[in-house]
């Protein structure tokens, strides 16, 4: 039967043993894409959704209408956040390999997405991250110790042991609780934005999902409700080309850009070089202004590459070429911003190396502190009683009884009757 099949299957351009072929990627030259007014109607700027906004050119200069003209100091902060994100990831990856944490997910190669976007937004804006946007938490100032305690499910864990590692949150820093269920946060972000509009507040909401997750129904609900109510929301699809082993073509990326879904719903769609810190910042600011001035929601596709494994449970050598990232045409976001800053921002290899050393030391010191709150195998440990809290605001009688039973069970007593 397979012989006669006429079913189309999206190609995967980089399987083990093959030479990675990224020629499918449509890349605009830096500076090439025009920057429309933030109040432009979605229907009039559809081209933005298939071109690619880029600012940093091959010579490491910032060019074109999307050049955000940020201060060198701000760019240095951005570089620092990205480097810290990567240093944190590196160390946590090694910690997992050493059996010190049970699970981890890196954002290697996509640090510009979360960091530049986080910096382009205001503290009052509410962020609905996925599990691969730790740069947002870094930008918002969540302490490394706090993040590590979450990874350790120890007594400092903000989730009180209920969530898998990397599922951080902070109400105070307006970082929404990360869900293990893909894409659910996307329409929730729209709802948050609708409420902001109903209350007449100036804040916007921003949500992030992977390109693979855009296949979920929640993606559609988010775009639809955002379009209908013109909610002040930024919907970000991080197209890192892979969803575990599955290439972006299986999420629909073979036929059209993900940003192009936006104009289909009457939402501004914009595609950006996700490894170009300046372009990502500029595009996010443009979308934020759009939202704040009542011009409606924006769908941003951030084109990047998942340079590392999906998670510490994953082995990408089973499904993609080993040296794939070396061939990735959009380069590395940290390298690119570094080179730009060396040329234009008073940066240097020396300062870079020094900063790298400083950040690694910070991470190491934080880890030292974090483990004092408990490790995987050694105390202090969260009280298992906590298992029964927060199911409801107030514990109902049956949960109280079960808690007693669990206590008895642990103490070796009989607890029935």
């Amino acid at each position: 039967m397979a012989n006669t099949s006429r079913l189309h299957l999206p190609p995967t351009p980089s399987r083990p043993g093959e030479r990675p072929d990224f020629s499918y990627l449509q890349i605009s030259a830096a500076g090439e894409v025009p920057r429309p007014d933030v109040n432009a109607r979605a229907r009039d700027i559809a081209a933005l959704s298939v071109e690619m906004v880029r600012v940093l050119d091959e010579a490491d200069d910032a060019v074109g209408p999307w050049h955000p003209h940020l201060e060198a100091e701000e760019l240095q902060v951005g570089l620092r956040h990205m480097m810290l994100t990567r240093a944190f990831d590196d160390r946590m990856q090694r910690n997992q390999r050493a059996g010190k944490i049970s699970f981890y997910m890196r954002s290697l190669g996509e640090e510009a997405v979360a960091v530049a976007q986080g910096m382009a937004l205001r503290p009052g804006d509410m962020l609905f991250p996925s599990y691969r946007n730790q740069g947002l938490h870094i930008v918002r100032g969540m302490s490394l110790v706090e993040m590590m305690c979450q990874l350790l499910s120890n007594t400092g864990d903000m989730c009180k042991g209920r969530q898998l590692p990397v599922m951080y949150h902070s109400a105070r820093q307006r970082l929404f609780s990360i869900s293990g269920n893909l894409a659910t946060q996307f329409p929730q972000a729209v709802g948050w934005a609708m409420a902001a509009a109903i209350k007449g507040e100036d804040h916007l909401a921003a949500g992030w999902i992977g390109e693979g997750s855009s296949a979920e129904a929640d993606f559609h609900q988010a775009l639809l409700f955002a379009a209908v109510y013109q909610a002040p929301v930024i919907l970000n699809v991080v197209n890192n080309q892979w969803a575990i082993s599955t290439f972006q073509g299986y999420a629909g990326g073979e036929q059209r850009s993900f940003a192009a879904r936006g104009p289909g719903y009457g939402i501004a769609g914009i595609r950006v070089d996700g490894n170009d810190f300046l372009a990502v910042h500029a595009v996010t600011q443009w979308a934020a202004e759009r939202a704040r001035t009542g011009a409606g929601p924006t769908l941003i596709e951030l084109v990047t590459y998942r340079a590392a494994a999906h998670s510490t449970s994953d082995d990408p050598s089973r499904y993609r070429a080993k040296d794939d990232y070396a061939h990735w045409p959009l380069g590395d976001p940290i390298e690119r911003l570094k080179r730009h800053l060396i040329k234009h921002g008073g940066w240097s290899e020396e300062r870079h190396r020094a900063l790298q050393g400083e950040l690694e030391a910070t991470v190491a010191a934080s880890w030292k502190e974090a483990v004092t709150h408990g490790t995987l195998n050694e105390g202090p440990r969260l009280d298992p009683d906590l298992m029964f809290e927060d199911v409801f605001k107030e514990m109902p009688a049956n949960l109280e009884r079960q808690r007693q039973a669990m206590r008895a069970e642990r103490s070796g007593e009989s607890w029935r009757k």
Binding site: C159, G191, V228, E389
Partner: protein, 335 residues
């Protein structure tokens, strides 16, 4: 008031008292809802507090969660309980567990109202009673009133509750109590004591059952439409039944239930939903565990059959007085 008016009044009261309360759902705004439960509320409180939505139950629940996280108290209507499933993932995976997974730092006080149950010739897609499924999801409160007074008080409690509440409305009761006999002329709520509903704010507590009739022969545990059928059936069979209207399915008022069964020693449990893994199963399990030494006969379940709700056989499907009578016979047996 009838049950529709009582629900309307509850939302009217809450919209008036609390500016964070908003209503949302398909056809609920300008039109006032296909069952007219939100009639007049958009006119009174404005289009920004009473929102018409796209036909997207998943989107309705998801955006309600986001709105709640941002300080509102959304009351979302799902037009028929049969159509709640597209929103099931957002309910079970998100709404129910947000407080837990964030250790209380986030929560979403959303109320989801939805008409359920049969008896209105709605066929297999307008008659379902899916409450049991929601009772299996930790973190949700699940309620179902059987009369206008409770409906209003429970809905106010639900809206004020900081936990999510799934609020089932037995649509066969909207216009009057129903004893299971479709041949009889309709009775309006005005003839029923629970049709007397105060205008203002009051609460009926969640997690508290009501003994609607004390008795000594056996205990009937029920909720929604079946409370009325049970009363009629017991009366017809001359059984001095203690009848409990659960009102809240989760959290459950185990105390009231078990006290009654331990007293009477006999128990019949009734709901409209299909039997297999219906809520009657959990009730049976709890009762047999706590009242085992007092039970004089096996607990009987009076339920819908384990089939979809068929349009043409509505009255063969509906748990009627004859089905109660058969259950009474077994429950009244002795060893």
């Amino acid at each position: 008031m009838n049950l529709v008016q009582a629900l309307n009044s509850a939302m009217d009261v809450m919209l008036g008292r609390d500016p964070s309360v908003v209503l949302m759902g398909e056809d609920i705004g300008y039109f006032g809802g296909v069952f007219r439960v939100t009639e007049g509320l958009q006119r009174k409180y404005g289009e920004h507090r009473v929102l018409d939505t796209p036909i997207a139950e998943g989107g309705i629940v998801a955006t309600a969660i986001g709105m709640a996280v941002n300080g509102l108290r959304p009351v979302a209507e799902i037009q028929f309980a049969d159509y709640i499933y597209p929103g099931f993932d957002q309910i079970a995976s998100e709404l129910a567990r947000l407080r837990y997974r964030s250790a209380g730092d986030f929560h979403a006080p959303v109320t989801i109202r939805t008409p359920c149950g049969g008896g209105i010739r709605g066929g297999q897609t307008h008659s379902q009673s899916p409450e049991s499924i929601f009772t299996h999801v930790c973190g949700l409160k699940v309620v179902m009133p059987s009369n206008p007074y409770d409906a209003k008080g429970l809905l106010i409690s639900a809206i004020e509750d900081d936990d999510p509440v799934i609020f089932f409305e037995p649509k066969r009761l909207y216009n009057g109590p129903f004893d299971g006999d479709p041949g009889k002329p309709a009775v309006p709520w005005s003839t029923h004591p629970k049709g007397e509903v105060p205008e203002g704010h009051y609460r009926v507590p969640i997690a508290k059952a009501e003994v609607v009739r004390p008795g000594s022969d056996l205990t009937i545990i029920s909720y929604g439409t079946m409370v009325h059928v049970a009363q009629a059936a017991a009366a017809a069979q001359g059984i001095d039944a203690e009848i409990i209207d659960l009102r809240s399915l989760s959290p459950l008022d185990e105390e009231t239930i078990c006290a009654s069964v331990c007293k009477t020693g006999r128990c019949v449990i009734a709901h409209e939903a299909t039997r297999f893994s219906g809520f009657g199963a959990e009730l049976t399990a709890i009762v047999q565990e706590h009242c085992f030494w007092n039970l004089l006969a096996p607990i009987q379940r009076v339920t819908g059959w384990d089939t979809p709700y068929p349009h043409a056989f509505e009255w063969e499907y509906f748990p009627n007085q004859a089905r109660f009578a058969a259950a009474f016979r077994v429950a009244m047996e002795s060893a």
